[in-house]
Amino acid sequence: MNDVTPQLIEAAGITVELRRAGQGAPLLVIHGEFGVPGWLEAFARLAEHHDVIVPSLPGYGQSTRPDWIMSVHDLAAWVTWFARDLDLQRPVNVIGSSLGGWVAAEIATVAPQFFNKLVLVGAMGLKPEKGEIFDYFLDSGLAGLRRAFHRPDQSAAFMRYWGRKWAPELADVVEQHREMTCRIAWKPYMHSLTLRHLLPGVRTPTLVVWGGNDAITPLNSGEIYARAIPGASLATIADCGHMPEMEKPTDFVERVRDFLQA
């Protein structure tokens, strides 16, 4: 798998770490609380038919952290600015994973003209009716990562990025991401009290993708998303944890492609 070297660009008021490759219509990926560990297999496959754009959000990776970003709402507003600065042809297709799914959902509620189609993957943002969102902050970075995979030791992505003994630099990045997530999603933890009420107003065709064994965000949250957004459908991926794009890239890309081409 070819890696894509991240570029540092000036956009939306900060320095942004950006990975971008592929041909076709733009596909913006909004990453989750673990940041972008590299050019994932799923990105490479999607890049066969799309211009895949993967920025590291402010405070993640090498993107600088402005102090004013203190909520997911702030982050959502920032993403729309970033897309304008990149001159993306809009409306744009978007994948939002976990925390990034919450960001994407926030944008969809206030700027429907921004998105063409939306894929929410194990998205944060809603308080489940059954179960609770796993609290990363009561355990270590590694414990959270392992829990985000159904079978971490059998996942090529997990083993590649986090499976070996951590160098101090990697530990620092994991801690940096935990801190940034803490800054924006501490309380209420990983959810909004308003988002759910705004979802029925979304007009963007939406696919909700969930790992069948997600031990971070209960599947129930996916059901609520699919129920609340008009016309949305829910696809679960078997034998898969919180991050289908990493744990089951083939299944994931298939679902996404079908949805984007339909």
Partner: protein
């Protein structure tokens, strides 16, 4: 200023089962409170208050209170309530190690309560402020990533409350108050002496020096404490002023009994006690290790609780003082050798404390003289010996840092 000698006890819950760590792996935050025995706790309160009272009778200059949450380490969930009660049992100063400012959403309430305390106690209050431990951020849901910002803003607001006439409006980053105009102000003018306390966080030491307030070193080894003093003095030198003794406080685990052997054995309560396994030792040490991020970080008693994201800087986790602290916490013997716990007969301990004073010159020397399951009788005897023999001998002793004389040797 004449050096002050204070008594301190975390007033920790000690009726826990001896194998608590083996059974649960931790002694705080998620430790089920079904283990809490209400009757026993009520008895403990009476015992703790008697110990404070006795320290006052034996000649201590004051008592020190503190606050922790969700932790067997301390039964003081409100330092202001503790101080209010203790002030009615002791004659001297009541020093508050700390109101953990970041956990409060209205710092003016803290300013009001301290004003009340100062008025009720007749101006006997020292008001310490702390950031709170990592556990407190989790148990009170105060965002650890903004801990330092909140601490500094709350401090500025409280200080303004005490030094500038109200009413005024406060529109900050974390605090927003329409009207700041508390009716009661402290008796001491413009406000009680202020401490900032910490466990070797270089940022807090520098900040305290910038604010010219006392930095209180909490139960740390001697070398590290001497380094704290150095950092403080360095910042002061850069700012063009010379700190006095009263700019440093030192809280130190102390176990004195009639013989060295008895004191050494009894001192184990200070190591194996709740404070070590619940806060300042085992857990913190693992947290610091975890900060360096080896893949095995989930081992140990939930180290993340002591250092939730953003709470501790990398420097504080991995700096020289943190390394020293870890090294001194490996065993009881190590902790005694490093001066983290000071034990001995009055004769021995007087010499040890002369050495400590010679190297750090604290204006406030606070003996952490009750801990864990140490029996009441042994605690009372320790208080008696400190009050009758140790403190009088130390009152006369001038620090070598002031006199330029040789440092008293550590007894062999």
């Amino acid at each position: 200023m004449t050096r002050k000698f204070f008594f301190f006890s975390e007033m920790g819950y000690n009726a826990y089962p001896d194998d608590i760590l083996e059974r649960y792996g931790f002694t705080a935050l998620l430790l089920p409170n079904s283990l809490f025995d209400r009757e026993k706790a009520s008895q403990l309160w009476r015992m703790f208050l008697r110990e404070h009272e006795y320290a006052s009778e034996m000649g201590f200059d004051g008592s020190v209170c503190n606050e922790h949450h969700n932790n067997i380490l301390s039964m003081q969930e409100s330092v202001n309530i503790s101080a209010a009660v203790v002030s009615q049992h002791v004659k001297g100063t009541i020093a508050l190690i700390g109101n953990p400012l970041p956990i409060h959403d209205n710092p003016v309430r803290v300013a009001e309560e301290i004003a009340m305390l100062d008025l009720i106690s007749g101006g006997r209050i020292i008001s310490g402020f702390v950031r709170g431990t990592g556990i407190e951020q989790l148990s009170t849901n105060a965002n650890p990533a903004y801990n330092r910002e909140r601490f500094e803003e709350a401090f500025a607001l409280i200080k303004k409350t005490w030094t500038q006439p109200g009413p005024f409006r406060w529109e900050g980053k974390h605090y927003h108050l329409r009207v700041v105009n508390p009716w009661q102000l402290p008796l001491q003018k413009p406000h009680p002496p202020i401490w900032a306390a910490g466990i070797l966080s270089p940022e807090t030491i520098r900040w305290a020096a910038k604010e010219r307030i006392t930095y209180l070193v909490l139960g740390s080894a001697l070398d590290a404490t001497a380094q704290c003093r150095e950092i403080y003095h360095e910042v002061a030198r850069q700012d063009g002023w010379m700190p006095a003794s009263e700019h440093l406080g030192y809280l130190i685990h102390t176990c004195v009994l009639d013989t060295d052997e008895e004191a050494f054995e009894m001192g184990r309560h200070h190591y194996g006690g709740a404070s070590v396994i619940g806060r300042s030792g085992g857990v913190a040490a693992s947290a610091l290790t975890a900060g360096t991020g080896s893949a095995g970080v989930t081992g140990g008693p939930h180290p993340e609780w002591m250092a939730p994201p953003g709470y501790m800087s990398k420097q504080a986790k991995t700096g020289a003082m943190a390394r020293e602290r870890r090294a001194s916490e490996g065993s009881y013997e190590e902790a005694v050798r490093a001066g983290l716990i000071v034990t001995g007969s009055p004769k021995t301990i007087i010499q040890k404390f002369k050495h400590i004073i010679d190297r750090t010159d604290p204006g406030y020397l606070t003996f952490w003289a009750r801990e864990g399951k140490k029996p009441h009788q042994a605690t009372m005897r320790g208080i008696e010996l400190l009050g009758k023999e140790v403190i009088p001998a130390l009152r006369e002793h001038q620090s070598a840092l002031v006199t330029g004389k040789e440092v008293t040797p550590w007894p062999q």
